[in-house]
Symmetry: C2
Subunit: 358 residues, 2 copies
DNA sequence: CGGTGGAAGTTATACGTAACACGGCCGTCC
DNA sequence: GGACGGCCGTGTTACGTATAACTTCCACCG
């Protein structure tokens, strides 16, 4: 019993890592004492002198606790899952960045929903992960991916989703509606009255809010003509949608209000392809303020979304939930960024609706 | 002995997960048998009937193995670290996507170097992670972040780095040199002789290769004038560098060969700001073929880098190393994508060097 | 008919950690 | 002077898994 069999079978022959027992031996204490000291729970249990000795030994030996063992013992993994539509989207890459930063501050890691092609259920993200997660953060744009998760009832923070969503433990939002209102106000203040909204045909809370806010804001301005042109995401889709909006029947819109910067970039191409100019003939606005917005010419008037802060706020909420504290559920402000892609409408362009006219 | 103490102290009161022992009880076998069956190691150890019973019970109970316990037992975590400069870069987001896909196929997870602001040692990525990683994939652009890793000697796959780098267990490359040659050839074939290379001032293998390849390719074409203008990364930096290159002393270059698409976008802005046109007066080329390349106008002639495949190849190499198999160390081909930002030089532009001239 | 060997299982063990339960020891108070 | 409680610590246990080592049974061969 006392002689320990050194034969450890079936294990990989890795360089043996230093364990808490090694530290204990070096410091002349028991392994329990090491755990107490390094876990900062030694208030009246270990003398300050020995505590210091333990810390010194740990430093000396370069001790790193084995996370697997800790997780097994504690039943918590200090790992959370971030579910987003795609990481190749700059916006969500930035959300991740912010979220990961806060998580790291709390000693947590972030794993990503590994679906390469957007939302599709290509692979069950919770296959083995569910056994290993402490919580989940999910964008409303990837909400469908959450259904497999219903089994495990993990704390769930929703990003930019319906506050009434019953699945969410907490919700953190961007003030998308305010952004849409500012954009609309910017255009009407410049004199635009015929505006076409290039609306992303993605079923998602965030786009529904945009559409509603644009409609309501324009309803408040008399004599405006709002049309809606559905579009898929991406430059090409935006180009096609804008082409349809500009070349279609009825009076030509003087402004294209696009649901994101990428669609807006496509819209700008469509405008020029029709022999028109941005912004002299047609104003174009984006949404998100991606790096792209200042790469194209003219630079896009858009709404800046604080993506990193968004991720940070979401992760802070999740950390609060995991700590049993009440979660802050803020709605983060957004900011209109006027740039070169908007200008007053051309002089010849009359109002959309003359008194009594159709 | 037979009566098990139910008091499990200091554990979180989580919903008790089903363990392999629960499955064993349900299937009427021992826990060891469950492990053998689900681990697919039962060839001559468990009868097919019982094996099927085990599988059924596992399915029925929704059994998910506890990864922490498995890691502790096996000494492997099935987790690898991906070290890249920044995830907000589309290129590396795509590398991640490809790498994560292959890793998932092998039952591995990918964690990211969590430095938010590029390479800086804001946080030691290996603080606790080193205890928990099976391997590392690193871009040469983030090679400095690797130094803390030297302690643990994990398998390391380098992406796009010097094949002689002694730290690497394996290296996977893109044929950057070929891309640079193709780009240079494209320009010279169009007739360009005065070319300025907007070279990223980032110390990195990949950019060194570009510079060398451009130089060598142009050296082979008589009568050319190559200049080099260093630039930081980003649209603004590219704009400033291009401005310097175009407005500086000496004959104006007829083509700007930029180290990436983002710099190229900035360069296009600079060209127009000087009252010139792309491509009629100045041709501009990019590198990477980001989404940006077709969002700007004119669309960028560039070199398409297979980012996802790159990540996949890197991860495949790492998986091979971890399996003890020989790793493939390919150099992936790249592809010239001619678009609207390049054209023959203006008729008035003479050759850079007339015979005998300076 | 004894021995051999393979199939079919089970029992036991260790991975490294956190924390409960216990046990001395000493000062103090009734 | 004995009981008590606060300090300082150690022994022990369990988390869930994978697998070595053992046991049993049975068929088959010499």
């Amino acid at each position: 019993m006392t002689s320990q069999k050194a034969t450890t079978p079936g294990r990989r022959p890795a360089a043996a890592r230093t364990t808490s027992r090694d530290v204990a031996r070096a410091a002349g204490v028991s392994q329990a004492a090491v755990s107490l000291v390094l876990g900062d729970k030694w208030r009246g249990r270990v003398s300050p002198g020995k505590a210091e000795a333990v810390r010194a030994a740990a430093r000396e030996l370069g001790y790193r606790p084995n996370l697997a063992a800790r997780s097994l013992r504690m039943g918590r993994t200090r790992t959370v899952l971030l579910v987003v539509p795609a990481l190749t989207t700059e916006f969500f890459a930035r959300v991740y960045t912010g979220a990961a930063r806060i998580a790291a501050d709390h000693g947590f890691g972030v794993v990503l929903y590994p679906s390469p092609e957007g939302i599709g259920p290509a692979r069950d993200p919770f296959d083995s992960a569910a056994a290993t997660l402490d919580g989940v953060i999910a964008s409303s744009m990837a909400a469908e991916a959450l259904t497999p998760l219903r089994a495990a009832d993990l704390p769930l923070v929703m990003l930019d989703s319906d506050p009434d969503d019953a699945r969410a433990t907490a919700t953190v939002n961007l003030d998308i509606a305010a952004g849409a209102r500012q954009l609309t106000g910017h255009l009407t203040a410049l004199g635009h009255r015929r505006i076409t909204h290039l609306a992303a045909d993605v079923r998602s809370w965030t786009f529904e809010v945009r559409a509603r806010a644009v409609t309501e804001a324009l309803d408040a301005v008399p004599g405006t003509l709002l049309r809606r042109q559905p579009t898929a995401l991406g430059v090409d889709a935006g180009l096609r949608a804008a082409h349809a909006a500009l070349a279609g029947p009825g009076p030509r819109p003087t402004a294209l209000l696009c649901d994101d910067d990428i669609i807006a970039a496509g819209a700008c191409k469509a405008v020029r392809r029709l022999g028109l100019r941005v912004p002299e003939d047609v104003s174009v606005t984006g949404f998100d303020d991606l790096a792209l917005a200042v790469a194209v010419e003219p630079e896009l008037t858009t709404v800046r979304l604080p993506a990193e802060e968004f991720g940070e706020a979401g992760m802070r909420a999740l950390m609060a939930v995991l700590d049993g504290r009440p979660a802050q559920e803020p709605t983060l402000p957004v900011e209109l960024v006027p740039r070169g892609s908007t200008a007053p409408p051309p002089a010849g362009a009359g109002n959309a609706a003359r008194p009594g006219g159709e």
